[in-house]
Amino acid sequence: MTDFQQQALQLASQQNGTDWLADLRARGADRWAAAVWPTRKTEAWKYTPLLPLQNDNPARWASVADCAWQQAIDPIPVDATRLVFVNGHFRPEHSSALPAGVARFSEADAAQRELIRSQLGTVMDSSLHLFGALSDALAADGVLIHVPRNQTLDKPVYILNVSTPEAQPAMSSQRVLVVLEDNAEAELIEHYVSGDEKQNLFVTAMTEVVVGNNARMQHYRINLEQEDLLHVGGVHVDLYRDARFLGFALGQGSRLKRIDYHVNHCGQGAHLGLNGVYLPRNRQLIDYHTNVEHKVAHCTTDEVFRGIIGDSAKAVFNGRIHIHQDAQKTLAEMSNRNLLTSPNAEVNTKPELEIYADDVRCGHGATIAQLDETSIFYLQSRGVTRAEAVRMLSFGFINELLNEVPEQAIQDYLRPRLTALFGQADEKLGQMTYE
């Protein structure tokens, strides 16, 4: 075991509330302790070294920093049921009253406990996901969203996860479970955010979603985090007959950010629509691993990820679609396009299609390009400066996906913030080459 594994177990052993989750924690701790720590030779972590975690040794829980987070962070002004967590600690004074069906694990009633016990750790397979095992080992509190049959949540649920600077390296953990019964509908916005100061924080955050027959889930996972923060998390989804999961992922910030989307098509007619945008700059590293398991026939997947990688940043996109033998008539499309705005930027993109059924349509495309000099000149010839032209073209590259975000408040929130990222374009941009 590495030092980090041992220290994390130490922290896990301090989790005492919610004793009815002790079995899950014990199983997670066993798997975490038994896991072989990934190296450069481990395929799933080949381009995403975990050294920052080992070097930082986040050996303590993040503090209940109250302080002035509200000065550093603007929440998304969306009409929603809001739950605020600061460094993993729930802040009731900043949160809404929770409607029926939304509860924290620590305050769950008997029926909700039974639901959590039966579902938590079943969508995410912690024998496959190292940090899933860690999340299980640490699981104490979290958020349950449960929508009964034929019901719709009145408002979206907005979970605002704020981090604040820590003096010493520290850890925080978040866990979300969504259970939509047949014909139910819900929208969830998970927002991970920090101010601009150095954070010293490792965030682990796992979300599991069960979408019942003909149920519909709209999901956002927005990570706008400071660049020293470390974040490893995942979104794990089971889709049953005619279920729909529409997701939007946005990643910005972090020296090490790894987010897994693992989606199981378990019932015929299910649909996954997943769009993602990643924007690492400076020395950041952002890694999205997606894995879609088409286990049954007649399901569809439409997945589009785009990244703009600047300065000396790195990005990883690994998109796996696994079409099992019985998954006839599958329609799956995956596209990943990348824009490098600096000669030192790097992207590793790998589409992985494994197809064992013979009557399917499955396509993928991955591209890596630089900004088009003719387009830059066209804008300049209309009086726009080169820096502004680069900003407009870069933003245009991801704006197509932003335009498809159904929640207008999120579009309006992200657009100026993302534009500002490219507004800081420096002279280095002027020297890039093009195809």
Partner: protein, 249 residues
Amino acid sequence: MLSIKGLHAKVEEKDILKGLDIEVKPGEVHAIMGPNGSGKSTLGNVLSGRPGYEATAGSVQFKGKDLLEMDTEERAREGLFLAFQYPVEIPGVSNMEFLKVSVDAKRKHLGLPELSSVEFMKLARETSKRVDLDANFLKRGVNEGFSGGEKKRNEIMQMMLLEPDLCILDETDSGLDIDALQVVADGVNSMRDGKRSFIVVTHYQRLLDYIVPDYVHVLADGRIVKTGTKELALELEAKGYGWLENGEG
């Protein structure tokens, strides 16, 4: 307005312009004709400062200033406009945003306040009507999925919004049917006010029936080999360029 003296330019180490002279006064329309490869498009690109098009000798004065010393965007703000032969498609950047940023840059340069979004929308809608473009084109990506004619009309619309002092039309007529040609020509003619100057680069005499030039220049092998009035264009249409290139002119 524009004074070009002995201009030499090269593209990718190849000499294209070899001592070109043109004098354009305010309010004049100059047509530049010539066979393929004579340097017609190079001239527009050199004047607008396109990377890769390098002036190696000679001088270009624009409104009394050294044009070749300016960046592309400065030239535009000073009032030079190039209507592209092949306008660029930019998905993800809306035509409206593109036009507003351009107009704001020009206004800022002139010391004028930026237009509010509402003011600009109104102006853009009116202008799109003048070039017979549906206002829906304003919402779409710049030139994205536009037909050839729509792209050219979008160029003329940009020209109208930016109100340049000197407009260079680089084969704006190529690929246009007669209706689109009429719209483009009407747009250009509506902007002739006795002060604004035009350089119309074209391969075909046809455009000059609609945009009547004060002078017609024949460009061959990087130099102006003959200058005349609009009748010269008709003569070229009838006789081709061979008689000039052979030195018989």
